[in-house]
Amino acid sequence: MSPILFYLFAAMTLAFAIAVVANRNPVASALSLVVSFLGLAALFVGLDAYFIAVIQVLVYAGAVMVLFLFIIMLLNIQAEERRKINLPAYAGGGLVTAAFVAQLWVVLQKYDLGKTAFAPLAEKHVDDVRNVGNTLFSTHNLPFQVIGVLILVATIGVVVLSKRELK
């Protein structure tokens, strides 16, 4: 991926991520999130992870975001009412974030190996889906089964937690 595209998508991802946090309107936040994830998917493509990129778009931008929006609509949540802004909390949160970023920066500076470029792949076009699928269903079968259980449990949970009260 050319650096320009990288910068573009990275900026897009980050900018809309900030928008998620900054927007007062939940719907706007949700939509910003979708755009951010799209940017992310593009970055995945740039890393030759096509399957993941597709999944990202399908699951996140498709399913999860719809769910979010759906709930926001269902609960009819308006823009966050203008409550008193808790300045110390904002300042504190900001400071912690800044500190975390600073630490991350230093860590990256000390990670010399990370300053090298990516090595090229052995072949130009990798059979991404096949490889992932192969791994998933052969060697990584056990965690995959556990994921299945997890989804079962989540399903039960959602049913239990949101089934209607019978009067």
């Binding site: 060697t139 994921i147 989540a154 239990v160």
Partner: protein, 497 residues
Amino acid sequence: MTPIPSLSLEIAVLTLGIVMLLIESFSKSDDKRGCVRFAIAFLTALIGFSFFVNPHGGNQFYAVDATAQFFKVLALLTTIVVLVMALEYSSVLAKFIPGVTPGAGLGEFYSLPVFTCAGLMFMASAVDFLLIFVSLELVTISFYILVAYMRRQSASLEAGVKYLILGALSTGFLVYGITWIFGLTGETNLAAIQHALETKQVATTPLLFGLMLLLVGLGFKVAAVPFQLWVPDVYQGAPTPITAFLSVGSKAAGFVVLLRVLQPFLAVPGVGVKVLAVLAVMAALTMLYGNLAALPQDNFKRLLAYSSIGHAGYLLTAVASATAVTDTLGSARLAVGFYLAGYLLMTLLSFLILIVVARHSRGDDILHFNGLAKRSPFLAFGLLTAMLSLAGIPFTAGFIGKFLVFAAAVQAGKFWLVAIGILTVAAGFYYYLRIVAAMYWQEPNCDTPIVIAPLTRFTIGALTFAVFFFGIFPQPILSLLKGPTLLPQTELHTAGR
């Protein structure tokens, strides 16, 4: 008999869960108690079978070793007692969940712990970040549901939300930490990571950074300061059986993962010592926070929450003293294992009695235990046992646990931790004995007779006995804990290459 493959235990538990779900779906009767009793019997039988599983085998994700077997037994045991609690608690639960008839909607409440149990068992065996992550999330997500289960009680929902948000936050850190570790070593299997760390030159700073992120995630699971804040609120709000499950199961699994995850890094120069130091600081803070903040509590459930933080501190002390490689006295793994076993018995005992008493006294404050020795000497004695064990009085399992923890700390020469430990133990004496004082010194303020279901009575009796038994004869647990080292030396090389 021929050895049973280890994985069959988890499969059996999952099958049980699914069968319970099917019964819930297709059974005409609303009364699921028979089903629960069956589950209890089944799980009890599984504990028996677990001693016959093949001690070898496993693969890159799934280890079969003494630690795993031991923690699986703990998970099964916890689940059994939680189910007993759930039966005892069902009348309370029924009030707070929607349903036409009294028993409706309870079936899931009984089956979810079984799935959680499977998750805990997977965690006990997990030696690859993939399986660790997945099984951890299985456990966590079922806990989200269980904590928020009482939909009509806003406290339960509030607890659910808090657990959800903070849990997800910690998951974020955990995943990010795994990312870094993977990125630096190129492996997700712990043995492979160890191999990589031994052979490859890995940049220390990013490694520490990743490790710390990992510790954040695991620290959350085991309720270590400063990631303990969810504990009191969630414990108090959750249905009591779930609180017990959280404080025992989740914590035990957290510690087994912590022990396994730490293992590869301890030998790395410049990393192991620092990690242990940071763990020691966390341990000290955790002991102090849990035990001191418990002092002014008046609600027994919340008090147990703080106490559970305190115990996490002792366990962390042992982890932070992980230097001894042998299985003798002073080994951290032994200390953690035994401590957790004792902690399990006494905590479950306390919660079980709490459920019974709270139902009859209509409240779970300390003053509701006033004069319990007169109202029900049996319960009072059970709770006395639990409190003594939690406080660390000899001849109880809790004492042997503390003994091992302190032995590990002394062995490691961490005397400042020991000093804090002693101070906090003294604080612990105060708040645990407050319950004893309430039960024995005070006059009862309500004299409704306490009726105890036979199964509950039996469980209380058995747990009480076990607390004393393992306090006097620690050898059975020691033998269980003895065994091959943490990581399977076979199949070091991962398949993904």
